[in-house]
Assembly symmetry: C2
Homo-oligomer: 297 residues x 2
Amino acid sequence: LEEQRHVADRFVALDWGTTNRRAWLVADGAVLRETRDGEGVASVDPGGFPSAAARAAAALGAEGVPMLCAGMAGSNRGWADAGYVPAPATLADLAAAAIRPAEGVAILPGVSMVDGARGDVMRGEEVQLLGAAAAGLVPDDALLCQPGTHAKWARVSGGAILDFRTAMTGELFALLRAHALIGHTMREGQAEAGTAFEEGVDASADGDLVVQLFGVRPASLLGLRPEADAASYVSGLLIGADCRARVRPGDAVWLVAEPGLGDLYAAALARLRAEARIVSSRDAFLAGITRLRELMA
Amino acid sequence: LEEQRHVADRFVALDWGTTNRRAWLVADGAVLRETRDGEGVASVDPGGFPSAAARAAAALGAEGVPMLCAGMAGSNRGWADAGYVPAPATLADLAAAAIRPAEGVAILPGVSMVDGARGDVMRGEEVQLLGAAAAGLVPDDALLCQPGTHAKWARVSGGAILDFRTAMTGELFALLRAHALIGHTMREGQAEAGTAFEEGVDASADGDLVVQLFGVRPASLLGLRPEADAASYVSGLLIGADCRARVRPGDAVWLVAEPGLGDLYAAALARLRAEARIVSSRDAFLAGITRLRELMA
């Protein structure tokens, strides 16, 4: 009987992003195996999702095991559109709105919010945010931030995402580096925490991003800043602007991040005299998806 | 004798930009002919400038006539590096720093400024700005703005550029439209003055550009704004942020622009209850370059 119960509690957790995916075989809340590959939603043809999912299960030695998907698999460019649940949203709300596009497969919705004329959405991050709260990795009422291409900032309280904002900070940095006139200067170095990064964070105080960004090349032409420091300075400008809009000195921010990715945000927050603590995004996701599996049993 | 004097006062004025150039044959302050072509500095090989200049003169029927060049011809990627004169800068300062890379050819320097850690440069716009002042097209003390890929804002007083800032407003709009995730949404319509543009100007009040820009796609996903309005909204956000950083209600701004190009800035300034007046950039350039020619005689 005990063995049968174990079999019933096994599931594949799939965090299926646009360009990558991670999968875990979970049994009774413990990870048995995990894999990561580049078969993101963008690389899967319409109609190709059942076989793409089966390949993820096979890589875990878990053919036929029930699967719970979060992330872009539930978008209108994914396996099936799971829509959004409006904030405030709890894990129970997500579980109740999951869709089942195939036998043994469930896909979670994202979370949306509307505040006057401003709308925002997330898809995948909600499992980490609510998982961090459910596992007690963050306090009952906390400001969480997930740095990245699209940084998510969320107020999580009483097990619900109350409010959130997405900042295109990482995407903007990448766009400027690849395509802007200042990109040539930015490509002379890597963005890293240090004096130039902190100068960028300080410069973001005047709220004049369009001027500060243009100034990167003149600063190099006029000998005010070495070209090698330009990427760090721009990173400080953008992350500084992002953090300043949401944080006051003394605030605590819980950074839900992979190791390394949160370092620049932690440096900016320190410069703004806010308190940053890093929470493992993997631990947070696994806590969330396991709780969702229980809620859907 | 009168005829000889006329011959001596003829010159070719060349506004030589990165991708385009305009040339005028000027005699005693009057334009005899003008041309415009796509032979910008970026299309000229090193060593190719004398013949490229000769082609501009030939198009005006002005072979061998003295030539005065402004703009990127004087950059380190142009004919010869004419450097920068530091602000505050007058037409006399520009005239005194012109270089002469060939017989009968003079190239004007740009203008630089350093304010603490912030540096800025212009090259070509200074002729328009100071020309507008010299010709009385703007008051003796005025805030001037040249909209464009890199919008220039300058305080011109007593015939000198006292201070200026460059905003990469136009470049950022083009980058986002061509390369950002929101670019797909932005390409559904053209940026134009109207309700969506004004909503963007209003939204720029919260100073949270990285969040407002990300919100363009969710607003479309959630049915808050038609996709066709996205370009106008983003234009309003960016131009609104640019204007707000420099203008208070009741301020007067003199837009030095080609017809049409200043309209969006005029709309944003009106929304911010500032007063916008448009000055012809062609008239301003011709007034400036003619005065420079006199100063260099």
